[in-house]
C-alpha cells in the first residue's frame, strides 16, 4: 500500500518536474512545480516526517509558489518565443549527458547497496521542537528569523517604484 503511493508520487514528481523545465509558458511551469512540491510532500510523509511534509505544503506550495504566480501574473509574462540557438542546444546536450551520467552512477551504487533495517524513529513535532530549541540549533533558529526580516526589508526596497 505504501509502496504504491510512494512510486506513484515519485512518478508524478518526475513528470511534473519535466513539465516545469520543458513547458514554454512559465505559468504552466509554475503550476507543474506546485504539483511537484505536493507530491514531494507525500513522499516526505511516507519517509516518516509528517511535520516536514505539512511544512512543505504550507511554506513552499502555499506561499513561495503564490509569490511566483503573483509576479508572473502581474508582469504578464509571455511564453518564450524562439527556439534555443545552436550554442544553447550544445550546452543542453552536454548538460543532459552529464546529469544522466550522474544519475546512472548513483543508481548503480544504490541498487547494489544492502538495505539495512531502518531504526526506530520518533519524528513527532515535539521531538523536532526539542532539537530546534536545543543549544545546538537555537542560535541558527534565531539567526534565520533575522534573515527573514532582512529578506522582507530587501524585497520591499528592491520592488519599490521610486528607489
Amino acid at each position: 500500500m505504501d509502496a504504491i503511493l510512494f512510486y506513484a508520487a515519485a512518478a508524478l514528481a518526475v513528470v511534473s518536474a519535466l513539465v516545469v523545465i520543458g513547458q514554454k509558458n512559465p505559468i504552466y511551469s509554475a503550476f507543474a512545480l506546485i504539483v511537484t512540491l505536493c507530491s514531494l510532500s507525500v513522499i516526505f510523509a511516507l519517509l516518516g516526517s509528517p511535520f516536514i511534509a505539512v511544512l512543505q505544503v504550507i511554506v513552499y506550495a502555499g506561499a513561495i509558489m503564490v509569490l511566483f504566480l503573483f509576479v508572473l501574473m502581474l508582469l504578464n509574462v509571455k511564453s518564450e518565443a524562439d527556439a534555443p540557438g545552436r550554442g544553447t542546444r550544445t550546452l543542453g546536450a552536454v548538460a543532459v549527458a552529464l546529469v544522466a551520467l550522474l544519475v546512472a552512477q548513483a543508481g548503480a551504487v544504490l541498487v547494489r547497496a544492502e538495505p539495512g533495517p531502518a531504526p526506530a524513529f520518533d519524528a513527532s513535532t515535539r521531538r523536532m521542537a526539542e532539537i530546534l530549541f536545543s543549544p545546538q540549533f537555537l542560535y541558527v533558529f534565531e539567526a534565520t528569523s533575522i534573515l527573514i526580516l532582512a529578506a522582507l526589508v530587501g524585497a520591499i526596497t528592491l520592488a519599490k517604484k521610486d528607489l
Binding site: V20, L75, V99
Partner: protein, 103 residues
Amino acid sequence: MDHPSFVQHAVLLSLVLFGLGTLGVFLRRNVITVLMSIELMLNGANLAFVAFSRAAGTLDGQVLVFFVMVVAAAEAAVGLAIVIALHRHKDTLDVDAFNVMRG
C-alpha cells in the same frame, strides 16, 4: 514506511530532481523559470536530507530541511523582487538581454 528501499529510491529521486533542476537552469531563458528550476534543485536536496534522516534514525536531517525551506523562502522573495526591478528596467525577462557586464 518501514520498507527499506524507500530510502534508496528517494535518494535516486532526489538526484533526478536535482538533475532536472540543473537542466532547467542551463536551458531556459526566462528568468522566473530559472528561479523555479533553482527551487526544484533545492527540493531535490531536501528530499535527500529527509531520506538520509530516515536511514540514520535521527532528526537532524529534518531540522536542516526546516532551515533550507526558510532560506529558500527568503531567496525566492528577494530573487523575485530583483526580477521585478529588472523587468521595470528593461521590459523583458530574457536572461540573454541582461549582458551589460559581460567581457
